[in-house]
Symmetry: C2
Subunit: 243 residues, 2 copies
Amino acid sequence: MSSQLSLDNIRSVLIRLEETIIFGLIERAQFRQNLAIYRRGEMWRELEGESLVGFLLHESEKSHAKVRRYTSPDEHPFFADLPKPILPAIEYENPLKPNSVNINGRVRASYEWEIIPFICEAGDDRQWGSSSVCDVANLQNLSKRVHYGKFVAESKYLSQQGRFQPLVRQGDAAALMEAITDEAVERQVLDRVHRKTVTYAAEFESSSCGHKINPDAVREIYRRWIIPLNKEVQVQYLLERGI
Amino acid sequence: MSSQLSLDNIRSVLIRLEETIIFGLIERAQFRQNLAIYRRGEMWRELEGESLVGFLLHESEKSHAKVRRYTSPDEHPFFADLPKPILPAIEYENPLKPNSVNINGRVRASYEWEIIPFICEAGDDRQWGSSSVCDVANLQNLSKRVHYGKFVAESKYLSQQGRFQPLVRQGDAAALMEAITDEAVERQVLDRVHRKTVTYAAEFESSSCGHKINPDAVREIYRRWIIPLNKEVQVQYLLERGI
């Protein structure tokens, strides 16, 4: 099995990403919801039909595509119309089976319309630029975390082929969802994320500037959105991979 | 005096930026130095003569310029050849006098050739993309921190005109440097930054993944680079502002 699929390696990538995700949410929570930056239309008619956040995310992806970000098996763009890499290709070790799973549409909708109102105070403080810069980073981090489910699923599949092969053959999504679910591990993740957020938020508290994030809110974001979306990727990936 | 120039407001902006800067340095320190991403030339001949980091920084600034980031008085670009905003202008309250102070060339050189070797383990782990994404954010945050010196200097000038006017009139940079220096405040900043980094680094430690940053190193970065560059901006700004 590829070392990228060892559970220890996957675990350490996901744990390390927690710091990045938690900190990014804390950064964003210092600003108001600023919902205007997620709306398309009249206010941003110069932005090719996109919202301010969508425009900046698209621009970021265009730049990153040029330097071949999306040729890496653990990276997934939000936009389909990206330029070709201008740098020569890298041959990545890719332990995944070919697949087209990309649920960034749902990642973006959940983030903009559910997570933002969940962590930010209502209202508009006109910090549109700073909020959008946070959002682009957060969306890219959440996408990475959610789509890492492909590596998790491949690892589980290879270590328990006898269990997974019949479910994949039957295309039984509900049974696959049950097979990949480990409630004890999910509880560990939620507890660890909560503990980390308590530490970070306490430090921000002492700086006493801006809105503080509630550690329970970060735990909830993992429980309601990050973990379920990650599991959705796992199931879709297994259904596409075949046996 | 504009509320942007109240010492309380300035202080709270700078303290809040500390979290962002410290966290960005911790993020970068998980990767090796990867000095290849700072070199121009053969390896990146497709990148318009830039290094990988320079190319991505330039691309980021082009996008942000389109949505008028650099029309804000607290934002300073690294590149001069940026596109015009495509969004209509915002009238910012600008409490600064007109000036052209921009020391991002020194910010970038210090970061790439001094700070990176100071915080990252030597060597190359091929995490070029992730390292560069961190670098672009760090350079932009450091630039903001350093150039915030303009607001600090204007505030000091307005509150002690009798002291500053003769020095500005004489163009006495050394005396201005002495006049803006407050060693007690500098010690407070260094102690606070050290304390914050201890907290954050301890939390990363328990995640036990990647290289840990040394809290003394972050303190040193403030002492050797951030504070002196900020003071340099203050002096240059006062010399340009006139009386």
